[in-house]
Symmetry: D2
Subunit: 336 residues, 4 copies
């Protein structure tokens, strides 16, 4: 009965999350998962509800039943898998970023366009109930013309130092979500970025050539201005807020909290922390992004986050990196 038959490439944290979410979706079957460490995944696989496991992603590409390839493997494998999946006529869901190379990304983009398959990039935050409400309020001009867009985006803890060198850096790895969300909320391209960055959380991160704290100043094509502040470590939890300020008012998405309970004592009135990290905060959004992708396939609709959206966020990240190096504002190149 299932009309969506999925093969998942990569069974890391995010791959497992998607697999778990898809179990409960009507008419969706996760037929195969591939992972180079498949040998160590036996226990998890047993109860995963997935039918087959393989070390080789090509088994997925070559399975004629599979019509969706979900790419959750490390970034440096994306291009090859996208091209193979596109060539095989599979629809593709790919986690961010597509790649660290603009040139290779454009090649994959051409391959996908040529194949005519559906492609969605994993910008899950667009599907968050709070952020999509802010988007609606901007789009309908309930807050008037957008003047200032502010994004606070702080992780509860930095990744392992081991991960840093392959991460692509704070802008490509973490802030890329914010670069997408400002395009989504504003409905406008980012024209120019200026950044400040430093390793204030952990100097070891600096020694590895990365930063952990940043402020990104943005100019939008529609005349609005924006600012993102990032930290790899907010000790109080995952801080994810957006404020859209316009000629008729402001719309602010506050954090989602662990509970609504407030405790009053001699020391003050204490509320709960924000939900700890992305798995907790964005679980509903992950479900929604996948469901909408499947819906786009079934009904031949446009996807909500396109390949082009993926490229543009990467280009903003690249411009941010350049601004960090040069100390001056940098223009962002548009994709045709």
């Amino acid at each position: 009965m299932a009309d969506i038959v999925v093969g998942v490439v990569g069974a890391g944290r995010i791959g497992k999350l998607h697999i778990n979410n898809m179990r409960n979706m009507a008419n969706v079957r996760v037929k195969m998962v591939s992972d180079v460490f498949a040998d160590h995944l036996g226990e998890w696989f047993e109860t995963s509800g997935v039918e087959e496991i393989t070390k080789n992603y090509e088994d997925i590409i070559n399975d004629p039943e599979i019509n969706v390839v979900m790419i959750c493997s490390p970034t440096n494998t994306h291009i090859e898998i996208i091209k193979a999946a596109a060539a095989a006529g599979k629809n593709i869901f790919c986690e961010k970023p597509i790649s660290f190379s603009d040139e290779e990304t454009l090649e994959a983009y051409e391959a996908v366009k040529k194949a005519g398959v559906k492609f969605q990039i994993g910008f899950n935050r667009r599907f968050d109930r709070n952020f999509s409400k802010v988007r609606r309020l901007v789009e309908t001009k309930e807050i008037g013309d957008l003047h200032i867009l502010k994004v606070t985006s702080r992780d509860p803890e930095p990744p392992s130092l081991e991960y840093i060198p392959t991460s692509g850096g704070l802008f490509m790895d973490m802030a890329i979500h914010d670069f997408d969300i400002v395009r989504y909320i504003s409905g406008s391209e980012v024209e120019e970025v200026y950044v400040q960055g430093a390793s204030l959380v952990n100097p070891e991160i600096g020694k590895l050539g990365d930063i952990d704290t940043a402020i990104v100043s943005l100019k939008f094509a529609n005349g609005a201005m924006g600012v993102i502040d990032n930290s790899r470590q907010a000790v109080y939890g995952y801080d994810q807020r957006i404020e859209a300020f316009g000629s008729n008012g402001a719309a602010t998405a506050q954090n989602e909290l662990e509970s609504t309970v407030e405790v009053s004592s001699k020391d003050g009135v204490k509320g709960d922390n924000p939900l700890h990290f992305f798995l907790e905060r964005y679980n509903d959004a992950y479900i929604k992004e996948t469901s909408e992708f499947f819906d786009a396939i079934r009904n031949d609709k446009e996807v909500s986050c396109s390949f082009r959206d993926g490229i543009m966020a990467q280009r903003i990240a690249a411009a941010a990196n350049e601004s960090l190096e040069t100390g001056v504002p940098v223009k962002v190149k548009l994709v045709d």
Copy 2:
């Protein structure tokens, strides 16, 4: 592989909700659903994931594979089904209230005790993340000794006038959840109640002999005092708050909102309404109550809401009804 095999009696709103939740539980199989209107449920049944449908709940009782009977049928059918299920050695989950008759309830209680089966009553709010956190704060004395317990419990809209006469009245139908939650939060029995009640929302409700607005004053065995206020209609949504005040402070569970977005305009700063009604607000709690029941069966643990809890809440409701009639405080009889 499923060790929990469920038969659901009654496929109304709440029965369907439980069925939908159980689909996604590991090792749980919903084998059969019974409903006197089974003939009209074909379309729903098709996609429900349930294996069989019947008009006759006895088919569930007689199925040797089924080890859990979940009773979601109208209150006046509960006693008969509980007795039959207990006699057949099935574990029982029963929606509230058990019955409108104290005598019949006690008979069913004896039958369940004699059969030695697990029985859980559907007081879902105990499983709400916010309320259970308030309970913990009271239990651990983080707020000191409990002095005052306040429950705000208002529905977004009254039930149909048709339903009113069979509902058991506001106290037995709606406030019974609040009578349970105050026992849960306080960890104490309610000794006496005094109520004010009136039909302020809709006089038609009054003509049918019921009320739609009430304030219930409570004396607890441990010396604390409490108050519940109920309305059948809060136009801004399902208002479900608890405040526990004690010698070292207070713990307050605020409402869960539709989103965290706040809109600032000339007219003020507007936040979202509370989640509309119980299906939205307590969905996680419904899942948790069922999961914990299955866990109690699997590991032979005590259930979180016992038969006795069901009886005590009903007795508080009965005392509330008597206080409404007589205009004076009424003692609550304990179950041995």
Copy 3:
């Protein structure tokens, strides 16, 4: 130039507060203050801005320049002073309660009516910006018809045990403000009260025949119902909230806080406590009540809190005391 010339009887905490507030009012002159302990008030008097000090309140009554007598002495002296001031044609501002005796209060009421002087009772909370906004929202029916009125009124700490025996008890001393505010907010008389009370904060208070914790259930003449909860000790500060719930929504006055600063840490998000006690919370309201009284005198307008309001609050307190003793609801007698 001053057209309001005041004599203040009693230089305790509240008398000094009023004197300090009046210093900054245009065309108001505090000519004299009387206090039986005048001998010990020298230092304060020096910088008080008051012109004369005396041990004998009659010096105030006999001063022809003084046209306002402000009574801030202990409750048991009020009747005598009111009668004397009225007989001398002085306008009178009197702190609550007027007296502990209904009979004597009525005599003083007659004396004031006969003299035709202005009389205002010190129910300062009517002048709080938050509570008066709630009143407006009820009065204009922005929340529809009032169904439920809830008042939370908790002091940060109990008075000294020494004071308890002369206080008149929790209802006459402390809750009397709440009895007034429910009449003010609802715009309706209270017809009946039922109370629960106990000494949960300090058993010594119980030994002195008083209570420190109470829940008061109220029936209003207009059909609405209400509840007040009182405690002599909220460790987190002066808890002063009102919630008016009606057919079209609710209006809630939250606490005023020490600051708007929130601190996020591993342990949660902590806001400040409510302003500590009445001097901090209601200072603006104290200024406003006095200013409006002087305005009523100058322009021969009706006062905002009349003698009758004082009597009615006392009668609710008396009914509450009776309910505490008898354990049943008690009707409140109206003043003609």
Copy 4:
């Protein structure tokens, strides 16, 4: 008895505010006010409590009794008056900015230093209870090391178009307060600024060569980074918030609201707007800044906002103007 005898230069909005506040201060006498439009101020003067009025500020300088000159006249008059007052040995309180010219400001600074008089600049926000609490939390490292400092500073409405050309521009006129507050909160100098600015509120402001919307990115000497966003028009009121984020958490000063009342209706839960503008929001801060200045004079203490603080804020504003023109980050010159 007054040991502080004040002459106020300029009886505009801010001069009148200070005069009104000083009326209620013990041992403070406002002896004279000068204003070039003195002829039109008769009615106000009558009830102002000031003893004398003059058209000529030199009358203040020449009055031997006056020991404090408070400068509230237009910016382009400040230098001359400061020099005259310093030469006459008067202590000086001066509204911001000192002047639009760095050179002239330094000359006045020398004159003040040479005269050895006390000088305080009118950065009232340092005295706001919320901001000073945030400062304390940063200073005591309760939030750990400061990483990011965010200031939201939006006026409820732009000044008249007439005022714009003499205002000094958004940075010198409005954001100068924010430039000071970030130095105060961080306890660090600003080393570099990068700005975006545009006239989004009203293009007429742009035609006059000014902007009405800006984002200012800041580098601090202590390694922290900061961002200020400014708008001349937040339709919901004066938006004045600060967020200090550090290695152990964050401290956020929220807006002060018109009341604490929340109204729940079908349309959501609506709170009040921020206090309208600076007169409402910062009234307590204005009183405190003046009182502390008088205290510094009386007890020969350091003032809380020094001449140097005034110069530094002006230099940041100048750097911001340069960044706006050049489109690149600009270093801020330190005062020795």
